[in-house]
């Protein structure tokens, strides 16, 4: 089991845009490199990618403010 940490401070989004479905749902299988969310830092958007293979469970909520190094999800 590994925690996926936020690479940047900012706002965490689980969807590519408000009217689109989430990149991944809790329990989805992910591969290292899959995009699982976005971090908005000062109006610039950065993709968050899974760093391991496994089942993902999100810890941070959509639109949650996060610090760099904060756990966004667990991949087990």
């Amino acid at each position: 089991m590994a925690q996926l940490l936020s690479p940047l401070p900012g706002t965490f989004y689980r969807r590519p845009s408000p009217d689109k479905p989430a990149y991944k749902e809790d329990g989805d299988k992910v591969k290292a490199g899959d995009v699982v969310g976005l971090i908005e830092v000062m109006k610039s958007f950065n993709e968050v990618k899974a760093d391991a293979d496994g089942k993902i469970t999100f810890i941070a909520e959509n639109e949650e403010p996060v610090m760099a190094g904060q756990a966004l999800a667990e991949i087990a």
Binding site: T11, M42, P65
Partner: protein, 455 residues
Amino acid sequence: MPITKLLIANRGEIAVRIIRAAKELGIKTVQVHSLADADSLAVKMADEAVNIGPPHAAKSYLNVDNILKAAKDTGADAVHPGYGFLAENANFADAVKAAGLVFVGPEGESIRIMGDKVAARAAAEAAGVPVVPGSDGRVDDPERARLVAEAIGFPVMIKAAAGGGGRGIRVAHDLSEFETLMPQASAEAKAAFGDGGLYIEKVIEKARHIEVQILGDGQRAIHCFERECSLQRRRQKVWEEAPSAVLPQEVRDKLCASAVALAEAVKYRGAGTLEYLYDDQTHHFYFIEMNTRIQVEHPVTEMITGIDLVREMIRVAGGAPLSISQDDVKMKGHAIEVRINAEDPAKNFMPAPGTIASLRVPGGPGTRFDTMLYQGYQVPPFYDSLLGKLIVWDETRDGAIARMVRALDELDVGGLATTKPLHQLLAADESVRTAQFHTRWLEPWLEQNAHKLNS
């Protein structure tokens, strides 16, 4: 009725600017803020502060219910929206009015008309203001499209009527290219937007961005001359000046008169800006859009005219007529503003939030620094990257550039990367020094000079 207590529905340097104007008018201030801005300079400076929600702007600075509740709870009688956030939201202007409060800006209806590109274009044409030549709405018939393109002259832009954000735009340089691109553009628009409708617009090559500052009281409008903001990166202004270095006086007179005509035609109240494209080869100008709010770069106009634009917009919102007539507005010298952003020019302008470890602010003659920074302030990552605006004035443009070089040298923001090195490089550039630029000049220049910013 004059305003007695003003709620500022914004943050950052513009909130600080508005509080300053209000204090000088003897008006009490209420600063609303998100949880992330509890320690902001505006909160410290205002008479009262109200937390209106979490850091995410949609839940705080865009939360109309919470803002109106804060106004009610504190007994504020007016709301200043600043720029961005709700500043050009006609429904917000209406909601403020419906709550019995004064909106420091135009009527919701003016925002609605001027915020709609097609309606604004129609209003401009009706007031006799030149617009970018084009098809005046959609053209579905290929034969008519060809006639329109030939009439306005190549190159032309083919745009999807249902498009936006630059999608579906093609440029045809001659008739044969036009014949090829037109059906492609229509098919693409149909696929992307479910509507194959197109419209056609003349391409203004190497255009300059020139804008006219206006003030209105609902009856009368005046202009405060123009600003030039041609140095842009990703459509964001980087360096702004007043006046434009290249506008002949007779063109300036016509341009500013056209802005006043349009502002009076829509019974404009408050501070507003009409943006134009200007072709310095033909001396033609074309209206593109109106911003119905105070703008980031308003200080350069204040520096050359001596008019406090924010004070005047608050006075007018309180029901006073304009305190100045057109004849009172005189232009003197030259002003330049540069935007100091928390972005690293050495890393492709990557955002750089963080803590201000130290701060040295430039001063001296003709030098102004509008900012919300203080030593120890933590720049939050949730909002735009503007940290401050360095503005200089001198008798001549050359003098202003020399003063900018000196002031940039004095400025020292410790603890995070800023765009200061970009402005130092620009101020030393021969094309900038001779004002030889256009709206698409800066981006290729950045590519060519990347090595100088990376060192």
